[in-house]
C-alpha cells in the first residue's frame, strides 16, 4: 500500500504529468462527465428528467422500432458521398501543395484556413444567397442566358454541397501531410524501372500517402455525420439528419432519454471509427514531423 502510494507520488511529480493535470481535469469535467451522464440518461424511463430511477432498455428498443434508421441512413449516405467527392477535389490540390507549388504553398495554406475562422452559419448563408431563386446564380443566368436555375436550394445535393464546402480543409490538410511523406526518389525509381504513370500512382504514391488519406477521410466522415447546420440552412429539412433528430428530442420533445440514446448510438459509431484509426497511426510522427 505504502509502496504503491509512493510510486504514484513520484509519477505525479514528473514535469510532464504536472503540466497535463489542468487540461486533463478540465476535459474530465467538461467532456467525459457530460458524456457519461448522457450514457446514464439513455437508460432512464422515457420523458423523465432524473438520473436516479430504475434503469431500463425501453429507449433503445423504441429507437430501434421507430423510423430513426432513416435519419441514420441519410447521415451515413451523405457523409460517405461527402468524403468521396472531397477526396477527388482535394487530391490534386494537396499534391500541388506538397510537390509543385514550393514557396506558394504557405500562402495557399493561409487562404484555405482563413474561411475556417468565419462562422459556418455565415458562410452557408452566403451560399443561400447564391443559390436562392433570383439569387446570384439564378439572377446571372437569367440576365445572361435568359433561363432560370431556381430550385437548387433545399435539396439533397445542396446539403452535400454544403458539407463539401465546409469540410474541405479537413480533407485537404491531412492529404498534404500524407503526400509530402512520399520521397520523390521512390517514384523516380519506379518509373525508371518501367512503371507507367498510373502504376506509379497506384503502387507507390497511394499506399505511401495512405495515413494522410485515412485521417482526412475519417475526419470529414465523422464531422459530416454529426453535422447540423448544413441540412438546416441549405437543406431546409428536405432530409432529417441524425443530429436534427437528437436536437429535437432534447429540445421540442423534451425527451432526454431518447435524445441520449440517439447520441450514444452516434457516439458509438464515430467513436469506433476514431479508435480504430488511432490504433493504426503514430501521432508523434505525423504532428511532430519537421
Amino acid at each position: 500500500m505504502q509502496g504503491q502510494a509512493n510510486r504514484f507520488l513520484s509519477w505525479l511529480r514528473q514535469p510532464g504529468v504536472l503540466n497535463a493535470v489542468p487540461a486533463s481535469l478540465f476535459l474530465l469535467i467538461g467532456f467525459a462527465g457530460p458524456l457519461l451522464m448522457v450514457f446514464g440518461y439513455s437508460f432512464m424511463p422515457p420523458k423523465t428528467f432524473s438520473l436516479f430511477q430504475e434503469p431500463t432498455l425501453a429507449n433503445y428498443s423504441s429507437v430501434v422500432s421507430d423510423s430513426y434508421y432513416i435519419s441514420f441512413f441519410w447521415s451515413l449516405t451523405l457523409a460517405a458521398a461527402t468524403v468521396v467527392i472531397l477526396f477527388f477535389i482535394c487530391y490534386p490540390i494537396a499534391y500541388g501543395m506538397a510537390k509543385v507549388f514550393g514557396k506558394w504553398a504557405n500562402l495557399i495554406t493561409v487562404l484555405i484556413a482563413v474561411p475556417l475562422l468565419i462562422s459556418e452559419n455565415i458562410r452557408l448563408f452566403g451560399w443561400v444567397l447564391v443559390l436562392l431563386k433570383n439569387g446570384i446564380l439564378d439572377g446571372s443566368l437569367q440576365a445572361v442566358f435568359g433561363f432560370s436555375a431556381s430550385g437548387m436550394l433545399y435539396t439533397v445535393p445542396a446539403i452535400v454541397f454544403g458539407l463539401v464546402y465546409v469540410y474541405l480543409p479537413f480533407m485537404l490538410f491531412p492529404l498534404v501531410i500524407g503526400i509530402s511523406m512520399i520521397p520523390d526518389t521512390l517514384k523516380e525509381a519506379a518509373s525508371d524501372l518501367g512503371a507507367s504513370r498510373w502504376e506509379v500512382f497506384r503502387e507507390v504514391e497511394l499506399p505511401l500517402a495512405m495515413p494522410g488519406i485515412m485521417i482526412g477521410g475519417i475526419l470529414t466522415f465523422i464531422l459530416s455525420l454529426g453535422s447540423l447546420a448544413e441540412s438546416k440552412i441549405l437543406g431546409g429539412q428536405t432530409v432529417v439528419m441524425i443530429a436534427d433528430d437528437i436536437e429535437s428530442a432534447f429540445t421540442f420533445a423534451q425527451n432526454w432519454p431518447k435524445g441520449s440514446v440517439l447520441s450514444v448510438l452516434l457516439i458509438a459509431l464515430s467513436g469506433t471509427i476514431v479508435i480504430l484509426l488511432f490504433r493504426r497511426i503514430d501521432l508523434d510522427r505525423i504532428i511532430g514531423r519537421r
Binding site: G30, Y95, V100, V114, P115, I122, I136, L266, I287
Partner: protein, 270 residues
Amino acid sequence: MATAKAKSRVARNLIVLWTVCVLAFLYIPMVAIVLASFSKARYFRFPVPRWTTQWYDKAMDSLSIRDLLWTSLSVATLVTVFSVALAFMGALAFARYDWKGRKLYQRLVLLPIFFPQAVLGLALLLWFSALGITTSWHTAVFAHMVWIVPIVILIMSIQVYSFDPSLEEAAYDLGASRFQVLREVTLPILAPGVISGGIFAFLLSWGNFPLSLFSTGADQTVPEWLYSKMVMGYTPMVPTLGSLTMSGAAILIFLFYMVWMIIKSRQSRA
C-alpha cells in the same frame, strides 16, 4: 523525353488552374454576403437594382446589435485567456515531456476535436442542468473551451515538438530559477505557437454556433442571432452583421500576419 516533359507541364498547369478555381469557390459566399449587405431591397435579388449603406447605419445605431457584439466579444476574450493558459501547460505535456500515460493523454485531448459539436453542446446542456447551473454566456465560455482547448493544445504542440530542451537545461545550469527559465527561455521560444493558439481560440469562439446554441441560455451571441434570423424573420441586418463580423475577423488575421512576419524576421536576424 521531350513529350514527357511537356506532359508534366500540362499536368502542372492543370493543378494550378484547379487550385485557383477551388480557392475562388471558397470565397464566393463571403462575396455574396458583402453584396447583399449593400443592396437596398429588403429581400435580396441579383443583379442588385439599387445600392445603399443604410443597413450599416442602422446596425451601428441598434442597441440590440451592440449587445450581441458585446456578448460575443466577452465570450471570445475569456475563452482565449483561459484556453491559452490551460493549453500552454497542456501542450508541454503533449509534446515536450516523455511520461507514462502520455499516449492516453494525447487521445483524451484529441477526442473532443473529432466530436460532433451539436451533440457535445446538448450533452453540456444536460450536464449544466443536472448540476443546477443556470446557462448564460458564462456557461458558453466553458462549453467553447471544451472544444477549443484541445485545438489550441494541438496548435501549440506543433511548436513545442521543435523545441530544444537543452536550452532550458543550459539556463538551469547557469543558475536560473524555474520562473526565470519560463520567462526568459521557454516563453520567448514558444511565443509564435502561443500567439497563433490565442488567435485561433478567439476566432473559433467568435464564430462558433453549435456550442453557443445550447449553452448560452437567455443570452445570445452573434452567430446564434444570425441563425435565428435566417430561419425566421429575415432582415437585411443578417448580411450586414455578417459582413461586420467577417471584417473584424479579417482585420485580426491581418494583424496576426504582420506580427508573425515581424517575429520571423527577428528570428532570422538573431
